[in-house]
Subunit: 375 residues, 4 copies
């Protein structure tokens, strides 16, 4: 199978090349760049030297040669390529935000500043978080007309961390807080002051506090999963999301605070000085861990860690895993879930390959079997 | 003035040497080590070579030669030295947790695993967070009998970030979440797996989730400041504190989530997909920023940053500053404060020097005038 | 095939697990630890969680269950295991220095402080640098009695960088200087002051200057290759090797200075101020690059980079590649070769797998097809 | 005294502000920017917030208000400002290369691509390496017409490392190799691919091999010092200089290989396998260390480290020190000097302040008393 990549010179594109080169079903590439047509990919990325050597072609040409097309483009420019692929019956996996909001164009426009170009494409598109929408992805794949809105990096880690609590009714009313930090590769390949080594090394810095575009995507996912809990009212949780830039190459670590339904502290009541976790708190934690383990049983890429091991971004490096560890805070009133992914793999290119595997009926882990290195 | 340092070979001790060497009122050192007596400090820390050259003496000898004594020792071993200093009328500034809980021995014992050795010393001790207790520090100093319980690193950043909201009645009922990350120097000088370079570089990892010893110290500080808000009920807020280890040498960045009193979202009501911050939210943010600026007017080490600049740990590096930026989340219902300190300076040695300055009536910034380098 | 690993809990052992888990001919592991028998590997290395789960057994048991045995042990303790494997006809691939010096026990003892335990084993052992000894490895493999002395990390990068110049008579008389820097993982898993994050981050530091154990191994390799150049006298070059510790997880970058035979500057003659490289120098560089390309034609893991691209340690990360770039210094009198490897892969575990592949007649790249990520 | 800084928004400019703000003789600033006139410095560098708040003015205005002027500008644009200052009797300290080559315009032009604008200024300029030219700096200062060509970062560390060997006749004929690595701040403030965090973190990479502009500056310094050794012939050494980019914010570590005059290995003679350093080698090393110590006796910023301590870039961080350690390689035939400086301090702004101190007769360490932090 030939895999086409439009936007191959960006970081997500380069990561797709790295992963697909080892995919047992992929025999070759058609690499395209909107702006660097004619350039050679191994000159742009010398790490590929001797392994992948190819000239970048026009998107149109890449599409014509491919059995599947990935688009790693800026938001708002990929819809015409999606349409071409749809018309040609070629699965289109889009890593931008263009197909993440389904037909909620209003929310997309509010955050991304432009309307949809080809609105009707959404009847063939699905938000490609397999743990949420696997069956819908398969349904669309069966029609031979399928567009994947590959999830954002932060929403992937945050959603997988909160899903069991939402689906199983653990989450009570109140705001869920998602406090996340990303490695600098999340900012993409374009140099800028914010990602200039001396400005970001040896420092931790929040950005776009209360104003990051992944906020509505996270909220939508939380609501979608909460809606599956039939015991719950129709209302989903409200959220606060704060992204940080951490001095590391890869990885997203999210610490997620979920007020529990069954043990809410009455407002304003403070029961004296905090005490270390009690045996009861530990037992309750173990119970919630079991719920998480059950929820993700059979999921190939979600690892619920055992007691005593806390998720860390470095331990999923270069893998498609999402590691989760569960904890309790404030005398057991709040669930604290730690979620770790590699922003470029499960948070981008790896999840895109996972979606390709589902679409074509390949083993879902094909090309994604890498074991994370410890360092 | 001769400054004595007991525990001079640990990181906090080394940082005290670095700062005090430039202090205009300090003419020399008496450096002591409980276990490395006889060793030379410039061999332990070659960065001091040619500037500070001294043999480490016994604590008793150091005390006898000093006009002020700093103790940078493990928790639970410094009380006898405190007593010696108190008896001799020498101010004792303790960087361990031993004097941070005043006469609440129960809380200290619950978290640190041992009782006080000389409980009565607490009638001469004060928790040395100048922004909270400056006048009490001066009172005790006037008696010539003063012990400072120098604050923990995380509690310093968290407390300064939340104080104005608590004192001015902005904080409503509900749990305050403190999500913090520290540079690795916070773990001290002793090598261990957790701080071994390949295990912590290029990774972000929470630790002691729901179980860190700084939790009760933060809670106590929040309550102490909330109690100053006469409009408030006697009850202070409950808290959740999650520490992380970030791949950087220095710095603590805390992101603090404070539910607002005046704009609470009714439980369980979700008003649809989130939208980018409105003009109203920006105005409300500006108003809260003014409250923060007013609160810290005249404070030499707290910088409330203007709109458009977010606090970052790297920008207070090697300085005694606490940088604060204020934001709003979830459509304006929650105050998000970002607080940045250098864990070794305002979070430890710098604050200790600040306390020394207050005790002796020196300019509070003496020895602490360093401007943070950008990198 | 079951792969046995003795010393599975060290970093090289862990890296072997990571690589072999994806090897098409390896179906399972027998993991042994001399000191942590009974421990579970996924507890020691949580990054393996859900992929590799196994209890560590005794070395003897591991050997009895394996078709190939890797030993990642401290120097001087593995010979008995080598003997057991030899007797049982199981290939033994040793990552320590024990079998790197063939029958030159004197040099081994001078640098490693102890004599050989079973000296005669060397009639079945070979220094496992495939680019030097591939045919000898195959010869021994055919006898069913084979012990591999897997090369040191620094010697691998240094040797591959200098080999063409030595074999093709480019190197003139005079000392070859090998200036190298390694990522911190090269120091192994045991915590110590030198590898404690705050002591090595954001700093570059030489160590064991003029006294590193890899010096005789590099010298021996240089001489062995120089001896293949029939035009040369019997004398090989003398060397200076300086290792540095660089603030990164992985990688070795060696800058190698080789005086050229054909263009030696007469001693003490200084021809005035240096000038930027001339066209002649560029042409001579291109010529030498061609010699390097020819020399490594067909080698699966050595990449001679084209003009304009300089080798960098980050671009071979997690791959078995050795990247080389060639340059000229001092008006063309000295060849400067830059060599980059991943110290844990081509510098240790990857090369061990490569040796296994040669022994068993597998494709030499089996299990080693990973493309380096850019970051 | 008012200090003027032209080019205040670059990294060297910012570092000058940081250092001069604590200088006892500097009472204020006149900050200028050629291109960012009108901008506020504390917006460009929020780390200055609350300490330095000023609008950037035109260079002309800054000069008119200052008693000393520093220029931290790109190469080739500062001569007119130098002339203005010279005419006005204001010392001009230039951090570009414009005044580093004295009247050797040919070399300057060969490497920097343009001729001098006002060639005659060189009769009032001096290369500002105090350890080489302190008396000449004082002479010029006495005339009230003085321009300092502040040294390049690499040449500072390399020169200080080689000077004693050159001046005392230790260096024999043959090429001196300077292998250096710099922190990323050396690349300046302008974002680019090379300094984009994901491209340079966790990697070590040489650049401009055999072609870096600091090569002729190093060679010139070596020759100037060698010429002071009356026993030597008129010929100075030839050099090779290789710069690397290391993943750290600050610091330059140079490893310098100097063939010794008294113990040259006859060409092509290889005396068998290397052995660990002998007692004789250690004694010879100690002897050379004493020569280095004597040479730098009284120098306030050069620290010759004792046996057992090797220079490391992290241990001079934020200080004006140059740390040196001396070693021997290849059985004592070659001197290996390790030199560490902070590229932004002794390698740029700190040395500029040192030059200011010499010019005005201040204590040479004024404003430069900072003790390096260990981390």
């Amino acid at each position: 199978m030939i895999a086409g990549i439009i936007g191959a010179t960006g970081y997500a594109g380069a990561e797709l090349i790295r992963l697909l080169a080892l995919h047992p079903e992929v025999s070759g590439f058609a690499l395209a760049s909107v702006s660097f047509e004619g350039e050679r990919i191994e000159r742009v990325y010398p790490n590929l030297w001797g392994k992948i050597e190819a000239a970048l072609v026009k998107p149109k040409e890449a599409i014509s040669r491919s059995q599947v097309v990935f688009a790693a483009l800026p938001h708002g420019v990929g819809e015409p390529y999606a349409k071409s692929c749809l018309d040609a019956g070629i699965p289109f996996i889009d890593l931008s935000a263009d197909f993440r909001f389904d037909d909620d164009e209003e929310t997309f426009t509010a955050w991304y500043g432009k309307p949809y170009t080809h609105k009707t494409l959404r009847s063939h598109s699905v938000y490609g978080l397999p743990e949420l929408n696997r069956s819908r992805i398969k349904e669309l794949a069966a029609t031979k007309k399928v567009i994947i809105g590959n999830p954002g990096c932060y929403p992937t880690g945050a959603s997988l961390g909160a899903f069991p609590a939402l689906a199983k009714g653990l989450a009570g009313p109140g705001t869920i807080i998602v406090d996340s930090a990303s490695g600098i590769s999340g900012g993409g390949r374009e140099p800028s002051r914010a990602f200039h080594y001396p400005e970001c090394a040896d420092s931790l810095a929040p950005y776009k506090v209360g104003a990051h575009r992944h906020t509505p995507e996270i909220a939508r996912n939380f609501q979608a999963m909460a809606a599956r809990n039939t015991a719950a009212s129709g209302e989903g949780p409200s959220i606060i999301f704060t992204p940080h830039l951490a001095p590391m190459n890869r990885g997203i670590l999210s610490t997620i605070y979920i007020p529990l339904a069954d043990s809410r502290r009455p407002d304003g009541v403070f029961a004296g000085a905090p005490r270390p976790p009690t045996k009861e708190v530990e037992e309750k934690t173990a119970e919630i861990r079991r719920i998480y383990e059950d929820f993700y049983k059979g999921e190939p890429f979600v690892r619920v860690l055992p007691a005593g091991i806390i998720a860390a971004s470095g331990r999923v490096r270069q893998s498609n895993f999402c590691d989760l560890s569960v904890h309790l805070g404030d005398a057991g009133t709040t669930l604290v879930v730690v979620s770790a992914i590699d922003n470029m793999v499960k948070g981008a290119a790896g999840q895109a390959v996972q979606n390709m595997n589902i679409i074509f009926g390949f083993d879902e882990t094909a090309g994604l079997t890498a074991i994370p290195a410890l360092f």
